[in-house]
Symmetry: C2
Subunit: 404 residues, 2 copies
């Protein structure tokens, strides 16, 4: 049985923590598992190095940043190998290059292209626990590249896929995926299992647990992820392919409720209703790297239309500039930063009507006005006044029976 | 004009220091020089990583240590490249691997075997200042190796040799090689020039300035070294091939006086005078990794002989154990840790008799007893009571006119 385990920054944040991870790895080894361990930099290290770089430049070369940032994971990998050796287990630390990870040329945000597994397989066959420095690879020219924030998750999933591992265990300081944020709703329950699609939609909940790109890659490669805590022995949550239309889960409609506080609403009134105007506005927003989330357009009346969308709060000023440049085409614009997005997510709602209606009526009963609505096959998102955000989460959590 | 510059740990010990090094490099660039810059880890970093490793193991795997320790130089290299870019100079940081440095397989103390210069030459031809992470390379199997303490000096000299550079400037916090330690003799003078051989013999003086292996390599490859301070604009000392029997330096007999406090004397009396006994003793000392420095054997009398040698002070206990194992062959052993070695060094003394005699008589006049003497072509070393160490340095410094 081959298992890939990944330990994030807080799991290896101190020497004591690395020792504790070593014990955990040794235990899995004693159970007879073949192991590939992916590690992040000790928590704080990457931020320290970024600060160092920013001392010299507000816009450092991305190639040099990769050279700089790839050092932290190597330190953790070597230390973990040393700790395991001392416990009597043969272990070897490999850089991204030595682990055969080749990426494209996009420095600081590279994509893994291939994993040449021969060295990894040789080390495993030689009885070694293989420790891989996460977050990094090299491109075809031998340049060091990194995979972006949370990239060690990606390293782990890609290695698990390439090695056809039985599971990819992602360890953090959270013991799995919850039906909602337990700080908001203490009745939140840890999920035993969740589908890739739901996990992706719950990203605002799961951001701390799992990086989205890794979930996408796991789905693509069919890698079963187990999200676990390195601070406990709890079971964690399995993230896998799941068809909730199957018998055993027929009654589960909604898996979780997510709250996203980082939203600002833009409402445009009296937009000239000529072909291509919406495309022009959103192209220009995209060119300015503004991430538009929800978009609502109402039916037009009197040759004008109303258009609403949301952006992250720290991009609202940039969005205003773009909107102001359309002053010939827009009658008035209204901006509201005191909104939040509350979402319900569940594969089960695909085949059941009325799931959205249940949400709308539950919020209405609690006197919560819904400003914008957007739905997908497995998600319903609603923009509401921020002061009702936590209440809405609790109301929705209860109405779908997630605390049961 | 191609110059290799190497900046040691204290020269890049803080972000401010790295900025200052960047300015220095930029200035040399503005003078039209092609530049390859070799950097050490920020001071303290390597020791910190060694401490980390020793938290887990008193005897960590050397391969893993190399993975661990090679990270510090990469950080400095990337930061220096970022700083230079910000100043408007194109610069690129390369790892030992990317700089083409291939070593043997001796982890933590590898020897450079070849330098494949094509990447370096391409970067130089493209107008880049090339920053190389010192102290490291890879072996033929792609494993990361390091060159031992002070290994960045070695990287710099090897690169200068391979690239046929016009000079190799080694920057530290000392502005050159002095006739003796200025803390002992304030009249000590900085030397403008010194031969490789003298530099090697003065290693106990120059240890902080230049690593011995680098001087040996420079001599072998004909690389002219300039030892300079990164904290001043002083000229520094040139270390090069020098024949002091030539006209211009005929009168210079002695270049410097060195004091080595890390000496312990072992005196063996009544050693059985049979063939091979000395070889047996010194082989066994070598097997225990005890570094024997001076060895004196007196002519034998009455089938026994007296044997004296010195070892580093921290190896005296190990030496005692070895000597005790010869109790059938040795009448008595005497150990003295309160001794120092004072040496005069100079290529000029090769062709001049009486240089040693001058030293002996000068020390005698000051009432300093010489316990052991050892001479080579360019060095006379004397073991004396440690309480006279500094006095001896001043007496010898004066008698050879080094303060003139």
């Amino acid at each position: 049985m081959l298992v890939v385990q990944k330990y994030g920054g807080t799991s290896v944040g101190t020497l004591e923590r690395i020792e504790s991870v070593a014990s955990r790895v040794a235990k899995a080894r004693d159970e007879g598992k073949d192991l590939v361990i992916v590690v992040s930099a000790m928590s704080g290290e990457t931020n320290k190095l970024i600060e160092y770089a920013h001392y010299f430049s507000s816009n450092p070369s991305k190639r040099e940043m990769d050279m700089l940032l790839s050092s932290g994971e190597r330190v953790t990998a070597a230390l973990l190998a040393i700790a395991l050796n001392e416990m009597g287990h043969s272990a070897i630390a490999l850089t991204g290059r030595q682990a055969g990870i080749t990426t494209d040329n996009t420095h600081t945000y590279a994509r893994i292209e291939t994993i040449e597994t021969s060295r990894l397989k040789t080390e495993i066959n030689n009885g070694n626990i293989v420790i891989v420095a996460g977050f990094q690879g090299i491109n075809k020219n031998g340049e060091v590249t990194t995979l972006g924030r949370g990239g060690s998750d990606l390293s782990a999933v890609a290695l698990a896929g390439a090695l056809n591992a039985d599971a990819c265990e992602i360890y953090s300081d959270v013991d799995g995926i919850y039906t909602t944020d337990p700080r908001i709703e203490p009745k939140a329950k840890k999920l035993d299992v969740i589908s890739y699609e739901e996990m992706l939609e719950l990203s605002s909940l799961g951001a701390k647990v799992l990086q989205n790109r890794s979930v996408e890659l796991a789905k693509k490669m069919g890698v079963k992820i187990v999200a676990k805590s390195s601070f406990s022995d709890n079971d964690g949550t399995v993230i896998t392919e799941l068809d909730k239309q199957g018998d055993n889960m027929e009654e589960v409609l909604v898996s979780g409720v997510a709250l996203d506080r980082n939203q600002a609403r833009v409402s445009l009134r009296g937009v000239t209703d000529r072909p291509g105007i919406a495309a022009e506005i959103f192209s220009k927003l995209a060119n300015e790297n503004i991430n538009v989330d929800m978009i609502i357009q109402n039916a037009s009346e009197n040759k004008t239309t109303n258009l609403g969308f949301t952006v992250p709060q720290n991009e609202i000023e940039d969005a205003k500039k773009v909107i102001n440049s359309f002053d010939h085409d827009i009658e008035s614009a209204d901006y509201d930063e005191s909104v939040v997005k509350v979402s319900i997510v569940g594969v089960g709602m695909k085949s059941h009507s009325g799931v959205a209606a249940t949400a709308f009526s539950a919020l209405a009963k609690s006197g919560i006005n819904i400003e914008m609505i957007s739905t997908s096959e497995i998600k319903v998102s609603m923009i509401i006044d921020e002061k009702y955000g936590e209440l809405a989460v609790r109301v929705l959590h209860e109405v779908y029976g997630l605390d049961k």
